[in-house]
Subunit: 198 residues, 2 copies
DNA sequence: TGTTTTACAATGCGGTCGCATCGTAACGGT
DNA sequence: ACCGTTACGATGCGACCGCATTGTAAAACA
């Protein structure tokens, strides 16, 4: 068969160009042409690897999910002796936009959220990564409960939602410049303090 | 002078058409033509009242702020004897998208958020309504503290952020169909339970 | 009544969009 | 060497966008 090209690598290349564009310029309204230019290839090439724009966006979303997961687990493992609390803190802080990288990641999340609102298929894809993250959070809370660090009255699943809510919402506030990363981290710590008061 | 028309009423008419469209079709990508059609007037007419699209969006944003404030205060006053807790609950539930109306309101908020991310001027306008809402929340928490219903250790300002975060994030989850309004309300109640445990 | 200002409809312009099509260059298998 | 497939660049189509312009009807003032 013909010219052998690593499809996966090409797709990643495109996805990362998309991510860079999304971070830099804005988020909605990035066009295929822009993505192609940013990736240093022709539009036809992009089309070759992704039949439609949606397909490209969906792939980039999965790529992002993977990267984020890797980043978080790396962060968690890097934190000396991991306790449920330190793990949760690391996750939440990692989610917040604190630098261009994490800001880009957060922005991509927002971009997909927007699409997801109008497009149920995208909402499904977008929400796929959520349950396991929430389950992971809930599990940490449960472990802390068993260790007596979190009151038994707390509901792990709901606490997981609240934790996510804080990171999610504070992240948006940071993006809009209504809050600084430091303030957001302080809020996270505040809440963890209150939660871990068993 | 000539044909006297109530400008404010016309603008409201347009803003509400925009809101309806945003609710129904999606949120980003509503065009001036669509808005005009929805409002039952010509595009030239819309242009007459708003020189640019941004101007229209900005006006509609303020309109929304006003409506939401009115809606919330009405809701609070309607709740028999208002306690800080019932007030907070009413506010949070009111923010959540529970029916087409509140869903539209929430969607508009999302639409503006999106614009706000890329457009600092919009971010400013969008964030203008926030501090007073947060201050109001914080004030309720403080009052509850003085009444001994909320632990003195709680920080009213941060709690206000957390409360907002819950409504904000849960609202998004509802929009995407990842959560039902009932579940979101349960989360709100759960958190209020934990907060009001003085 | 005539003039002036406002309200609005119609239309067009330049631009961009996603997507389809087509031609061709590069390579692997036979 | 040839053939079939793949990679990808070039180009164009139809639709839509925001915005500007133009023309006209109507109403308040003189």
């Amino acid at each position: 068969m013909p010219k052998q090209v690593d499809h996966e690598q090409r797709r990643v290349q495109i996805a990362e160009a998309l991510q860079r564009l999304t971070t830099r310029a804005g988020l909605e309204g990035v066009s295929l042409r822009q993505v192609a230019a940013e990736a240093g290839m022709s539009m036809g090439s992009v089309q070759h690897y992704f039949k439609t724009k949606d397909e490209m966006l969906r792939y980039a979303l999965e790529h992002r999910h993977k990267l984020r997961s890797e980043r978080i687990t790396a962060k968690v493992l890097a934190e000396g002796p991991p306790t449920p609390r330190s793990i949760l803190r690391a996750c939440l802080v990692e989610i917040l936009p604190r630098d261009p990288d994490s800001e880009g990641d957060f922005l991509i999340g927002v971009a997909y959220f927007i699409r997801a609102v109008a497009d149920p298929a995208m909402a499904k894809a977008f929400g796929e990564g959520m349950p396991e993250l929430l389950a992971f959070f809930a599990d940490q809370v449960r472990q802390a409960q068993e260790a007596g660090d979190v009151p038994a009255s707390a509901d792990p699943e709901t606490e997981a939602s609240v934790l996510w809510a804080i990171a999610d919402s504070q992240g948006s506030e940071i993006l809009m410049g209504h809050r600084t990363p430091a303030e957001a981290v302080a809020t996270v710590d505040y809440y963890l303090d209150r939660l871990f008061s068993g």
